[in-house]
Symmetry: C3
Amino acid sequence: GTAAADEATTKGNLEIKSDDGNYSASLGGRIHFDTYLFDSDLEDPISTTDFRRARITLKGNIYDWSYVLEQDFTGGDTLSGYRDVYLAHEFLNGEIRIGQFKPFRSMAEMTSSNELTMLERPFSSSTGLYDGHQFQQGIGWTGVQDCYTLGFMAFNLRDAGTPRNEGVGAAGRLAWAPVNTDDLTLHLGTSVSFENNNRNSSDLVAEADYAGRRGPSQLMALTPGNLGGDATTAALELAGSYGPVYLQAEYTVGDFEGNYYLSEEDFEDEFGAPAPFYCDPDLGCFIDNQTVRTWYIQGSWMLTGEHKAYSKKRGAFSSAKPSGDGLWGGAWELTFRYDTMENANISDLEASSVTFGLNFYANRNVRFMLNYIIGDDDFTGDGTDQLGLRAQIGW
Amino acid sequence: GTAAADEATTKGNLEIKSDDGNYSASLGGRIHFDTYLFDSDLEDPISTTDFRRARITLKGNIYDWSYVLEQDFTGGDTLSGYRDVYLAHEFLNGEIRIGQFKPFRSMAEMTSSNELTMLERPFSSSTGLYDGHQFQQGIGWTGVQDCYTLGFMAFNLRDAGTPRNEGVGAAGRLAWAPVNTDDLTLHLGTSVSFENNNRNSSDLVAEADYAGRRGPSQLMALTPGNLGGDATTAALELAGSYGPVYLQAEYTVGDFEGNYYLSEEDFEDEFGAPAPFYCDPDLGCFIDNQTVRTWYIQGSWMLTGEHKAYSKKRGAFSSAKPSGDGLWGGAWELTFRYDTMENANISDLEASSVTFGLNFYANRNVRFMLNYIIGDDDFTGDGTDQLGLRAQIGW
Amino acid sequence: GTAAADEATTKGNLEIKSDDGNYSASLGGRIHFDTYLFDSDLEDPISTTDFRRARITLKGNIYDWSYVLEQDFTGGDTLSGYRDVYLAHEFLNGEIRIGQFKPFRSMAEMTSSNELTMLERPFSSSTGLYDGHQFQQGIGWTGVQDCYTLGFMAFNLRDAGTPRNEGVGAAGRLAWAPVNTDDLTLHLGTSVSFENNNRNSSDLVAEADYAGRRGPSQLMALTPGNLGGDATTAALELAGSYGPVYLQAEYTVGDFEGNYYLSEEDFEDEFGAPAPFYCDPDLGCFIDNQTVRTWYIQGSWMLTGEHKAYSKKRGAFSSAKPSGDGLWGGAWELTFRYDTMENANISDLEASSVTFGLNFYANRNVRFMLNYIIGDDDFTGDGTDQLGLRAQIGW
């Protein structure tokens, strides 16, 4: 019966590969289950439990073509649940992708959600600066050459869950790892992104969720969808790991096209506090082009001595693999981040988060994460904090 | 090619296990397709066809951890479609679960939807007394010791599809099978449940769907979500099987905290008939703490002689396995249930169902079920009946 | 470890079969990713990218029973995402199906979405004449006898995503392939369909999307859901292939029960132009029974010489299998269609599409399709055109 069988394997997933390597398929998934407890201040969010991710991932290859079809059931509707959904073709030491995937920008964004150091990505990702634009539809290429990781994408300004529109964008990223040994990695990177609204586009928005997920949001900048405005960003990345220690920093500047008026009421509704500048009684508050700056530094120390590996394919760090020598047979990691975002054109429009964390890795697939996030919104004066806990399994 | 292959098997599902037993994964599913025909009375529900369940189930283990990720596409939105979604760790002859699963209460609830004797569970389950609270998010343990099956869970008052809120609850169940041989099983059980509303909680509600699914509902008790009230229940279970005969009964008392007023109009809207007690012209109808009582007895006779097996893991009965000797090569079963629920504080607030049924098991995976449900709502006087038919396959 | 293993195989999918053939299961899927660019006229649709299909398909068999559970994540909600969802039993050289599947009518409808010659099906399918009624819930049989393909279905007028209602319908189709060799196929076919609205039924509607998907729609006929009206259709099919050339035509007449009034405003809202006949100032525009006629002819020429295979199971043509000798190692196909639909009772209520296309088949699973659609709506005078592009992978 097994004479003609292809090879079936499991590491918690289902995987079958043909003997000749021409075909393969796998079904994996992930569950991230969170508990959020807020220490409220001016804002008073609801403390609760929440599935952060519950995702199935189908992958496969057919000769030199491949596919990814990923659905996250936390999306609510299945269109919002699309994650990576594309077909790809091998090309120049990399692959051309067609469909929905992440534009190549922000080292934090390139990091898999299974491999995050903290519960959430910093503001320089689609959690903040590229709010709601984590996945876009289009065509791109990504590949690795020597110690360089490159990625380019041209896209329609939508994912499967957002309105059909004629906005377009493009993003590219270059990562360089001049040193990358078993014990030591040094990473430098840069990316640029350009987005142009057009018919039926949604607003381009930068937001700071300064007290963790499901906590309060501070709007940082807004380019209306119906006025054809642009948002442009440029970023620098610096990161490295040495033995059990790891550090990562990004600095990004964004320019959000403005040149519109908001009524004083609308301004307060959107930004959470009255305009700190003169508003014309007839025309309202003038919003000029907005410069947004965000940077973070994060790091960790593997208490059990493991080393965080670097993924050349992603140009980003993965998680350390537990040696199994720590308490309860797993690995332990202390983590820290300082993250801040400001609008340089509106006085005091700035928010920041300080996060301390502890991660326990039961094995390569299962982890628990604890974060204490000290939130600070200079614009509204809110100082809500969050204690966040995650139980995670990926397979 | 197959030298390194793990073991792949199918019983209609996909399953792969690693040679060393450290890893496994499977993909199963179920389709339950129903037809409902109503004999209307005061109520006149729409007769139609309906998918009761269309579900995929991913399961796997990674060393002493395991996961379940189950999605029912009848949910409409994917958050409502979450069923069992948790990670688990072996612990004390059982497992600790973290995520979404069923609180341990009600023998009928513990029975798999693939193994039901009737089309629907009785009122003592989330079909009635725990309306909308079949799955909750939290942490718990379940295990088997000798002839005892135990389960405990502490939970947030939500599942993935209901609003984020700060309500909490806890439930525990103990089942005892002092006799459990190939031919004879005797089961006794008890469970308690406590639920406490808090910020943003939905109402705690008991309802009787006395004429089957998609038929009319009679509200039995309501503890408003925004007043921080409690609902507490205690249940007794008695069941057994001997040869082809099986009997099961549960008796549950629930206390739903009240102490609020409804206007006469609202009372009639909610309960379907005018208040049968004095309502204050200014304040309305006073709803004090409500005692709800529900009990059922159900049984079946396998006409083809098979014996219903008892699952120690669940502390509940499974289906009989068809011997293949019956008409059309399958097994045949006659079924019966009497089910009733009442509010002891509001006169005549009582509903009951008498159900007669016939099941045909084509094989272990495929069955057809026919139910005739005679519904009776004492409060409104409605006597709608339902003829329900199910075609079911599980794999 | 592999001693007891069933057979695992992949052609981009996951598949396991038991050694004795009693069990099997597979997990496949498809991604169709489209780009639409409109040359607008009176109508001005949004040019954008869109996932046309992103679908997972579970199939399996358990002895002489089988199942299909298919979910398309483009549905938005999971009920709208149901495609084939049924259990089936081998019967008379075919199978009885119970659940949701396509009523047997229209050769174009019977063609798999992975095998379409053009981006969209012609008007004689659920893309037009049976608008929104591609899948229905019920029971049916389909099978092959000699050179005949037959299918019958009795159904409730709903799929999983449409309202529960008491409407019913039935459809049947007979296809005959008197000649069917490796190089030459001749196909004749006929089908009839009857649908009867009842309590809670949605309107029965015929529409012409004459400028491709996401373009403008011209309403052709409407039988209101709440009046209990009927829609009846009868169709003739003629098709054939010879070497690299293929031709297919269908002619369908539909009768949509009317006998109702629309206000002049409602008429213009629904049909996009003022009523071209006298409307009573008090009663409005009388809509009598409506006769709808639609026909198309489509064809293709495989530039690389392959032959389109005929599927006896479907009674419809499949795609040609690329020989690998063409440019870029694939197959190339030139395509053409003329498609038209008219309401014989309302003057000038007619729309048509002329489509030219080019398909590139990279391999059996991956293709790219280009269509230029020249749309023409005689009723409104609109002449919007569409350039459509699809990247497709099925596994």
